[in-house]
């Protein structure tokens, strides 16, 4: 990809519109879920009393809404990035958005009206028999999760179809000519965002199959056709699906970084052998780390425990060495153009690195035995998602709306990006401190001696709210002109 390739060309206006819709809907969801997160933190701080009934409902909504919001915002961003060179079906993407909205509606209704609060926990008698909700609420919530899976299938199917058609087959879309014939350089190599779209589409499709493997028995159980789904099977399957989905978010979002950061560094990000190798390896390696969530399950076979430990490290290496180091090498000495986009993308790299490091520590068995049920885990995935994935997605939305609307950047925008970074880092740092001091996670009520961490986090949360309020307002004001520009086409 050239470093100054415009996002809009003569043929991709329709895809850019649906991509903007994904980004706005996905990040809008993230913003609302973030406010719910603030409620939970205020409860932890002892400054706002949230009943346990509502706390777990909010937690369920916050967790499921955040992951899917980030994933679909990232899908939209990646679709926009590759649409300059790959023909994607905008019809399929719109259908995917309707499925996502339907899924969100079902989950929200199950939680708000049905009082569903089981999160993603499926060990019998969950998810159907809760103290506050009926079996119907469990079925509706899980129907929502199922429809989310269908939405992922539609989007990933459209991506895979588009990239393989554009590149003349799966091998070329996966840049295998670089991988297997590195000494015969081809002038027409698959660019990194297209490679990433192909890899993540394959992962997404396989992941949904895994999801169906446990969702179908769960629905059979609700229908009375199966008495109980095996607990160990359920837990493995739900984590293999859910953990992979959480990981997938950052890989999809990384596609936006590969496609956008070079424009601010004024250097191309090439598909070198390490890039091709790392991203091809992710197709397999992403499916191994889930098992580190089951170290404390005595019934889990030893082999899977070893796999969890080794798989977590193996899964982290390609992304860390290639993308994170690659991004730093890209910007080092390049005279990086500082803007909210580049600031947030570099912040995202930091979040990915530190969130990933937190996960790797948790994946070490002796540490896991002490830390896994503490806020350390919440710290790790908030760093990874809020500082990592969300920053990438906000950065790309800022970039695409600014580019299409020809809006001028304001100095305050850059300050807001830095403020978001300081707020986000401060907030997750306090979560890490909390975990390091063994404050348990998933507790609705925090003892007085634990409340100091959440209280100290409040100024940082306020910084994030102010920063996102400013940046969000700026971006929303640009969405209309950007949208209209996609109808006019390139000037």
């Amino acid at each position: 990809m050239t470093t100054d390739a415009p996002s809009l060309n003569a043929t991709n206006g329709a895809v850019l519109r649906v991509a903007i819709a994904y980004l706005v809907v996905g990040l809008g969801t993230v913003a609302v879920m973030g406010l719910l997160g603030v409620l939970m933190r205020l409860d932890h701080a002892g400054m706002l009393l949230v009943s346990p009934d509502w706390f777990y409902r909010i937690m369920t909504l916050h967790g499921s809404g955040m992951i899917t919001g980030l994933l679909f915002a990232s899908f939209g961003g990646l679709a926009a990035v590759i649409s300059a060179e790959v023909h994607l079906s905008s019809r399929a993407l719109w259908i995917g958005l309707v499925l996502y909205l339907t899924a969100m509606m079902l989950v929200v209704l199950a939680i708000v009206f049905g009082r569903f609060a089981a999160g993603w926990t499926v060990l019998d008698p969950l998810p159907y028999q809760g103290k506050t909700w009926t079996e119907s609420a469990g079925v509706v919530a899980y129907a929502g999760y199922l429809v989310t899976g269908l939405a992922i299938v539609v989007v990933c199917g459209a991506m895979l179809r588009g990239t393989t058609a554009a590149r003349g087959g799966l091998r070329r879309a996966l840049a295998w000519e670089v991988l297997f014939h590195p000494k015969r350089p081809s002038p027409d190599v698959t660019h990194p965002p297209v490679l990433i779209a192909t890899v993540t589409a394959i992962v997404g499709l396989v992941m949904v199959v895994v999801g169906l493997v446990y969702l179908v028995p769960l629905f059979l159980e609700a229908a009375g056709l199966v008495r109980h789904v095996d607990a160990l099977f359920s837990k493995n399957a739900v984590l293999l699906f859910g953990h992979t989905m959480a990981n997938l978010c950052v890989y999809v979002a990384a596609g936006m970084v590969y496609g956008t950061l070079p424009r601010y560094a004024h250097r191309p990000w090439k598909t070198t052998w390490p890039v091709a190798a790392a991203w091809n390896a992710i197709i397999l390696l992403i499916f191994f780390p889930w098992s580190h969530h089951l170290y404390q399950d005595f019934a889990q076979p030893l082999g899977l425990q070893i796999l969890g430990n080794l798989g977590s490290f193996a899964g982290g290496f390609p992304s860390f060495i290639v993308t994170i180091v690659g991004a730093l090498a890209l910007v080092y000495g390049a005279g990086l153009e500082w803007s909210p986009t580049s600031i947030l993308m570099l912040l995202g790299i930091w979040g990915w690195a530190f969130g990933g490091a937190g996960a790797l520590l948790d994946a070490i068995v002796p540490i896991n035995q002490v830390m896994h049920n503490t806020m350390w885990v919440a710290a790790h995935f908030h760093t990874y998602n809020m500082v990592g994935v969300a920053a990438f997605a906000w950065a790309y939305l800022y970039h695409i709306t600014a580019e299409l609307s020809h809006a001028r950047e304001r100095r305050l925008d850059r300050w807001a990006a830095w403020l978001y970074g300081i707020g986000a880092v401060g907030m997750v740092a306090l979560l890490f401190f909390e975990g390091a001091h063994s404050v348990p996670r998933r507790y609705a009520t925090h003892d007085a001696e634990w409340q100091g961490y959440a209280r100290a986090a409040i100024p940082f949360v306020a910084m994030m709210v102010i920063a996102l309020g400013w940046l969000g307002g700026e971006m929303l004001a640009r969405v209309g002109p950007a949208w209209r520009r996609t109808r006019i086409g390139p000037l």
Partner: protein, 247 residues
């Protein structure tokens, strides 16, 4: 009882006449079209079949005993018959439009404006599910028929902006607005379904006072809410698949 659904039918002369005239009239108009779409013919006939099933099969008498069956009946009118009739409406509209008085055509156009159609469909759905109205309709057969007719018409109006046949209806022009229209339409009916599905008390006195009792009425109400919530979601997704054009 499941066998009743297949073997027990009731003859309603007025309805039979109306459906027959509608089918034959439509077939004659369809045949005269320069470009004939089999899909439109199948959709129109399918819509009429759904109305016949909803009104003449065992669903109708059983709906007085079970809210869940009554819900299936409503779904047949609003989510099956109405969209199918609208999908087959083009030849009829093209034939009717030059023959309609201008004010009538303007009214048709005005009522099919997306916001108006959305509000009418939502308003009719919620108004009839208001417990006093629902109980009153169940106790008065004529009002009950009016309830079903208004639901059918209201949802025919709702689905019409998703089609495009000339200037006869105020069609939604882009995928983005179609998504918003479908998502908000799905949500308003799903909220009603959720209220029924997750309520801890039965809403409708007619069923509570029935022979099966209050406990059964509550369980049946929860089932009816689930039917509305889940089948409605499926219908709106299918509508999206059919109406998205990649614009």
């Amino acid at each position: 009882m499941p066998s009743d659904l297949v073997t027990r039918w009731e003859w309603h002369p007025v309805l039979a006449m109306g459906v027959s005239v509608s089918a034959l009239g439509y077939a004659a108009i369809w045949w005269r079209q320069e470009v004939r779409s089999r899909g439109e013919l199948i959709a129109w006939v399918g819509g009429l079949v759904a109305i016949v099933i909803g009104t003449s099969s065992a669903i109708d008498p059983l709906s007085d005993e079970r809210l869940s069956i009554h819900m299936v009946q409503h779904e047949l009118f609003t989510f099956v018959a109405a969209p199918l009739l609208v999908a087959g409406m083009r030849p009829l509209t093209l034939w009717l439009l030059p023959r309609l008085a201008a004010p009538l055509a303007r009214w048709g156009h005005a009522l099919s404006r997306p916001r108006t159609a959305w509000l009418i469909a939502g308003g009719v759905l919620w108004a009839w599910h208001w417990p006093p109205a629902y109980d009153y309709a169940l106790a008065h057969p004529t009002v009950h028929d009016v309830e079903h007719a208004t639901m059918l018409i209201a949802y025919a109006l709702y689905w019409s902006p998703l089609t495009s046949f000339g200037h006869a209806v105020a069609a939604l022009r882009t995928d983005a607005v179609r998504v918003v229209y479908l998502a908000t339409g799905a949500t308003q009916s799903a909220v009603l379904g959720a209220l029924l599905a997750f309520s801890r008390t039965p809403f409708y006195e007619f069923y509570v006072a029935g022979p099966a009792g209050a406990d059964f009425a509550l369980r049946d109400q929860q089932l009816s809410g689930m039917i509305m919530l889940l089948s409605g979601s499926v219908v709106f997704v299918v509508a999206a698949v059919v109406t998205m054009r990649g614009e």
